[in-house]
């Protein structure tokens, strides 16, 4: 059983603590929804699991399949079976999708995949995601539309066959038809390969299509509420206010973003911000 276990995770970005003690367990083949208002740490949690250099783990542990993930480099985590479909996939000019994917496939196998088998697999995956056939020869994400980038993340997921995939707002930028295509492929990979999933989304529609069994709500860097599908349904119809009310939580992010107000007149008499 490959299980992801996160205990008391604290993560800082540029000296500011974003996660303040997160506990989470994801078992094999499970689908989890990670919810919460913007700016409360959902993407931070996924980036910390994948190992983004800017996200500093100050306390706590992450293990996967019994191995200490925090000791591993980003590429080692990927080869261990972790995958993150990113919110903003990078554009890499000069490197074609096919060269990149072939290299990424070869690092996880003893014998390199033959060119013939690779091309066949790539063609099938591109067709699954209903993308243009020239995708293989285009530079990685360069000049892609928002929706194409998101679909290309799922192309990579299908080709690399991770055992745990994290989807960070994969549905933003996708139209309804593309959303259905992505959900269909994600569901199929989950069923055929037993891939566990952590899904961050703001829209109920994607959760309706993928059907997570578990939901976690992150507020102020902590998981304040856990449960099943009923949480997703209630957040969808009522938003997050009931959670603040029922659990006595004060959301911090909104206040912190407010800056002292200075009128133009105040500036003119030299009372600007110090």
């Amino acid at each position: 059983m490959k299980t992801l276990i996160i205990e008391n995770l604290h993560v800082s970005v540029e000296g500011k603590e974003i996660l303040r003690g997160v506990d989470l367990q994801i078992n094999e083949k499970e689908i989890h929804a990670l919810m919460g208002p913007n700016g409360n740490g959902k993407s931070t949690l996924l980036a910390a699991i994948m190992g983004h250099p800017k996200y500093e783990v100050t306390e706590g542990s992450i293990t996967y399949d019994g191995k200490n993930v925090l000791e591993m480099t980003v590429d080692e985590r990927s080869r261990l079976g972790l995958f993150l479909a990113m919110q903003n996939p990078q554009e890499i000019p000069g490197v074609t999708n096919s060269d990149f994917l072939r290299a990424a496939m070869n690092v996880r196998r003893e014998k390199p995949v033959s060119l013939f088998r690779f091309i066949k697999a790539m063609e099938k995956t591109i067709a699954d995601l209903e993308m243009k056939p020239d995708l293989a020869h285009r530079f990685l994400n360069e000049g892609f539309s928002g929706g194409e980038k998101k679909r290309n993340e799922i192309v990579q997921m299908e080709m690399l066959e991770p055992s745990l995939a994290m989807l960070d707002e994969i549905d933003s930028g996708l139209d309804v038809d593309a959303l259905k295509i992505v959900a269909r492929v994600v569901n199929r990979i989950h069923e055929e390969k037993g891939t566990s999933l952590i899904i961050v989304s703001h829209y109920d529609r994607f959760y309706q299509l993928v059907q997570p069994e578990f939901a976690h709500v992150l507020v102020n860097g902590r998981i304040v509420l856990e449960g099943g599908k009923e949480i997703i349904d209630r957040i969808n119809s009522e938003g997050y206010d009931w959670i603040y009310r029922e659990y006595g939580i004060e959301p911090e992010t909104a206040e912190e973003k407010q800056r002292p107000k200075i009128s133009l007149g105040a500036c003119a008499v030299n009372k600007g911000m110090k």
Binding site: M50, D75, S78, M86, Q90, I92, F100, V107, L160
Partner: protein
């Protein structure tokens, strides 16, 4: 046509493809003349000082790929002349260990002359370039595209000047220079210059010099590639376009494989 050159020579290029291997123990002087459509692959295996002079005749179109494979330091002094409506393309591939000191002066002599000078440099030694493209007549075009990947111990110097003299109206001068650095123990200098003495012209330059983006590396590593594999892929993508003038697919593949090997060996 493939031949080896070790002595001074005047070479009249025949139409089509030719290959020249420079293997010279002493200083060498080569003069090329092209009157039709030619494509030349010049591979420098061994040399010290080379003087090269090319003439692109009226309406001729010629592409030169200078592939430096020398193991030791070489000095190259070049002069290129482009006549009326002639088209000259020069590509320098410098992916070898040996240092180079190269000076190239391209003169667009008559109306309608066109020159494109491009370079791809994998720099782990001293790679020094001074390139001038001068528009002397109306409606000429000079373009420079310089790409470098600078590694530990590398010293990259690119002094690129596009010049349009008075009276050369309707001319264009454009240049792009990009240096990608992987290490702090290197030095890169790019001096892009435009010297324009005429009003009715189009000119531009773009320069970037910097390290590989941290988020790009993270993205590629998150798919399982080691840092070294990422830098090889990015470098190959950066430098490979220098072979684009080559029409012969077999040669192109061979050169690309040589480049990939060199980059993978780093």
């Amino acid at each position: 046509m493939k031949r080896s050159v070790s002595e001074n020579e005047e070479i009249l290029l025949s139409p089509g493809y030719s290959e020249i291997v420079i293997d010279a123990e002493k200083p060498l002087e080569l003069n090329f003349r092209a009157a039709e459509k030619s494509e030349v692959y010049i591979r420098i295996e061994r040399a010290q000082d080379i003087r090269i002079r090319t003439e692109t005749e009226e309406n001729a179109s010629v592409s030169y790929l200078f592939w430096n494979a020398a193991g030791t330091e070489i000095t190259v002094d070049e002069e290129h002349h482009v006549k009326r409506y002639g088209t000259l393309r020069i590509a320098y591939a410098e992916i070898n260990q040996g240092s180079v000191k190269r000076t190239a002066m391209v003169t667009l002599e008559d109306e309608g002359a066109y020159a494109l000078v491009s370079s791809a440099v994998l720099c782990a030694s001293d790679k020094h370039f001074v390139v001038d493209v001068v528009s002397q007549s109306p409606h000429t075009t000079g373009i420079m595209e310089n790409y470098a990947v600078v590694l530990e111990g590398g010293k990259y110097y690119m002094n690129a000047t596009g010049k349009i003299v008075k009276g050369a109206y309707g001319s264009e001068s454009h240049q792009t220079s990009r240096a990608l650095c992987f290490d702090e123990k290197q030095s890169s200098t790019i001096l892009p210059k435009l010297l324009i003495d005429e009003n009715d012209v189009q000119a531009s330059h773009a320069t970037t010099l910097g390290r590989v983006d941290e988020d790009q590396l993270y993205y590629m590593q998150s798919r399982g590639l080691t840092q070294k594999q990422c830098t090889s892929l990015i470098s190959t993508g950066y430098l490979m376009p220098v072979t684009r003038f080559i029409e012969d697919e077999t040669l192109k593949t061979k050169l690309q494989e040589e480049m990939e090997r060199k980059i993978a060996d780093l």
